[in-house]
Symmetry: C2
Subunit: 147 residues, 2 copies
């Protein structure tokens, strides 16, 4: 018996708002953990994507880590300064730049991964296995249906 939101329904009933609120809260928690290593969430995502050892172009990365191109470029600049990642021009398409993770980046990524796993475990405890996997399933399908 779920009612569709009327024009004057409170904002808290809108899907867009619930998503924003949940995202904000979970992100805040994750941020808090990762701050132990002084690393923003986006950098962890970048390291994680690159930790397959393959080279990834900036465009690919931008999509994967949900940042737009200029923002990513500037964040990568910082990470290059910190020698966490490095750039290589793609030999097959010289418009592209391939990003790789450094050894230092790999070491940091491992530490960050376990901080993140801590968080997921904490969520599993307070929220429950069943709800968590069901929520993940629904989110994936929402994302699918939006493309």
């Amino acid at each position: 018996m779920a009612k569709p939101p009327k024009e004057n329904s409170p904002i808290t009933e809108h899907l867009a708002y619930l998503l924003a609120q949940a995202n904000r809260e979970i992100n805040r928690q994750l941020e808090l953990r990762l701050s132990k290593e002084g690393v923003p969430v986006e950098q962890w995502r970048i390291l994680k994507v690159l930790s397959d050892g393959e080279g990834h172009s900036m465009g690919e990365l931008a999509d994967a880590v949900l940042l737009n191109h200029p923002t990513l470029t500037k964040m990568i600049d910082r990470m290059v300064s910190d020698t966490l990642v490095y750039r290589v021009q793609d030999p097959n398409d010289r418009r592209k730049v391939l990003m790789f993770i450094s050894d230092r980046g790999k070491v940091l990524c491992k530490k960050l991964n376990s901080l993140a796993v801590d968080q997921e475990e904490h969520i599993l405890e307070s929220y429950g296995d069943k709800s968590t996997s069901e929520l993940k399933r629904l989110l994936e399908s929402l994302i699918d249906s939006s493309n």
Copy 2:
């Protein structure tokens, strides 16, 4: 048979990532609709909260619309310039400022509401009634369990 994420699981399996991705996508769609009236999502949220006609303090508003205080102050400055809202000092506690929606703000809010309802209906169509209400339920309970 849902597996908990291992240290080296892809980023796309993390709840934090799925939430960020879904939020980004739904927000992008909403933004697109509201841009017809040239209004950012946050301003719509503000108008919607204020449209109960009551006065709301800045702190209250900041919580409700998921913005931190200085960001809200500056956004409200713009909205005051556009005569969508106005400030009144709280007579009972002069530290506080009470925000009210103007007549112009009410008119705009109505238009925005129907654009937002359009979007929710679009989601219901492509994603389904059942999934939508189930997702909302799970999100609410995740938010609850995080406090």
